[in-house]
Amino acid sequence: MKTAAKPWIWLVPLGVLLLVVFGYPIVEIVRLSFTDSTMVSGEPYSYTGSAYRSVVTGPDFADTLRVTSAFVVFSVVFQLLLGLLIALLVDNAKRRGLRGAMITRTVVLTAWAIPGVVIGVLWQLLYQESTSGILNYLGSLLGFSGDSAFLSDPGNALVSVTIANVWRGTAFSMILMYAGLQTVQRDLLEAARLDGASPFQAFRAVTLPALLPLIAIDLVTITVETFNSFDMIMALTQGGPGTSTQVLALKVYDQIFTQLGLGRGAAMSIVLLLINAVMIAIYFRYHKRREVNP
């Protein structure tokens, strides 16, 4: 197609907004991370690398990273696995003409539409720590004590938060995997079956390779989403008890808006930004083909 005379007119409004809302804060947060500034307005500050030194040497940040990585790894693995399993289930049921396949898909997907803070409140109510709490009651029917401290015991809290997050995020992986399954060539599966392959062998040889590009994109997306998690945990535990569920984003928020340590919080947020950057780089690799051949 011929080159347009004025392509930029179409792009300038979006471009300007993105520069202001993304470009400015990124430059500013990098600058602030090299200062000893606080949130107390008007207080003078100076440029220094002390924020980074304090983050690296302080005991708190290592703890945050430990909590965050456990939260991210388990969330991502289970969201992907459960999403794939449910997608296979719905796809299989639909191909067999079983009723309820689409209802199942809709019910799972509804979790995606519920605001994160509300999911936090829902799970807080499910995890109620008396014998009138529903999960405790169901647990007691299965022979557990019936008064498990799901959220107030620092040892349990991270597991409870991760389960709620898996519940929340599975829908997105499911719908990506389900879309991917629609692209699998049925005649290849049929041929594998005729050759005597077991369902598992057919899955490994035909279905999985077809899904791999989507799995890659899904992994990047849900990893970023999980690293950026804020709203659900804010409503569920506020990062507590203590700091046992204080993931990176909550730590940054706490450091800046509660401790008022702007420089130190900015330095921590650079870690979050770097994680985002690594994920962007990986994402670009999978989008490359599209760039070359749009």
Binding site: A4, P7, W10, V107, T110, V117, L125, L273, P294
Partner: protein
């Protein structure tokens, strides 16, 4: 065929388990929202209230600011959908149809923006808004919502425009239309389902948005529903479980209704970009 029947039975069972796991949390909270205080603390917890206390809802609507929070959300969501489409549609059209220097760079910049944590953005934005007096200002807030949702929608709409035959625009251009007219009168009508999808996804995401209003608003009468729910929750002893449950249900009903009614648009929008990538 008995093997197949056993397999079908297994699939049904798996579907029932899945539906229960995903529907139960919401249904349980719905049940909690209709209880008396006595039923809330009863052991074992009854599955359903003896008689539904619809009065809990009127109580929450009358004594908390939740009605106002809902209205605030509607305003902010409507503004965000409008603003997002206003900026994304032309940009996506240009990225799909025009060839120019810097096109790949612009696309990549947009893609990168999609993966940046909104929390990192709102820290400097908060300071900027304080300086400019934009704190507690819906226009400023909506612009941030638009920026956060626009990158994904620009990609989605660009892919959508790619799927519309170029011959459509070319015929219009040959007939003497400008680019702008070709977009308005020929391409936009053909792209209506895609634009609807983008708008609906922006609406759902904006309804859920939390960190942006949480940081950029401090006047509680301006809170959208997401921040309002946390505000309710933090009232601690003043708000008992059944009222908090009712508040949560009020916060999800609009978005869940929209979602169930329009999910075919949403599913397409969530997956299309990734499938083509």
């Amino acid at each position: 065929m008995t093997g197949r029947r056993w397999q079908n039975a297994g699939l049904y069972l798996a579907m029932v388990v899945t539906v229960v796991v995903f529907a139960f949390p919401v249904l349980w909270v719905l049940s909690l929202s209709l209880r008396t205080s006595r039923e809330i603390v009863a052991t074992p917890p009854p599955l359903l209230p003896a008689s539904p206390q619809w009065g809990n809802y009127t109580h929450v609507l009358e004594t908390t600011g939740i009605g106002g929070y809902l209205l605030n959300s509607v305003i902010v969501v409507a503004g965000s959908v409008f603003g997002c489409l206003l900026l994304c549609v032309p940009a996506a059209y240009a990225l799909s149809r025009l060839r120019f220097r810097g096109r790949a760079t612009f696309s990549r910049g947009v893609l990168a923006a999609q993966l940046i944590s909104p929390l990192v953005l709102v820290i400097p934005m908060y300071r900027l808004f304080v300086t400019l007096g934009l704190l507690n200002n819906y226009l400023g807030l909506i612009l941030v919502y638009v920026a956060v949702t626009a990158p994904f929608q620009t990609w989605f709409l660009r892919n959508y425009f790619d799927s519309i035959p170029v011959e459509l625009d070319e015929a219009a251009l040959v007939d003497g239309c400008t680019r702008g007219r070709a977009l308005r009168s020929v391409v936009l009508p053909a792209a209506r389902p895609g634009i609807a999808s983008a708008g609906i996804v922006v609406a759902v995401l904006s309804w859920s948005q939390f960190v942006v209003p949480f940081v950029l608003l401090d006047d509680s009468s301006m809170y959208p529903i997401s921040v309002g729910v946390v505000n309710l929750q933090n009232q601690g002893g003043e708000i008992t479980t059944q009222y908090l449950a009712a508040g949560s249900i009020i916060a999800v009903v609009p978005v869940v209704l929209v979602f169930v009614a329009l999910q075919r648009y949403i599913v397409g929008a969530l997956t299309a970009g990734s499938l083509k990538g």
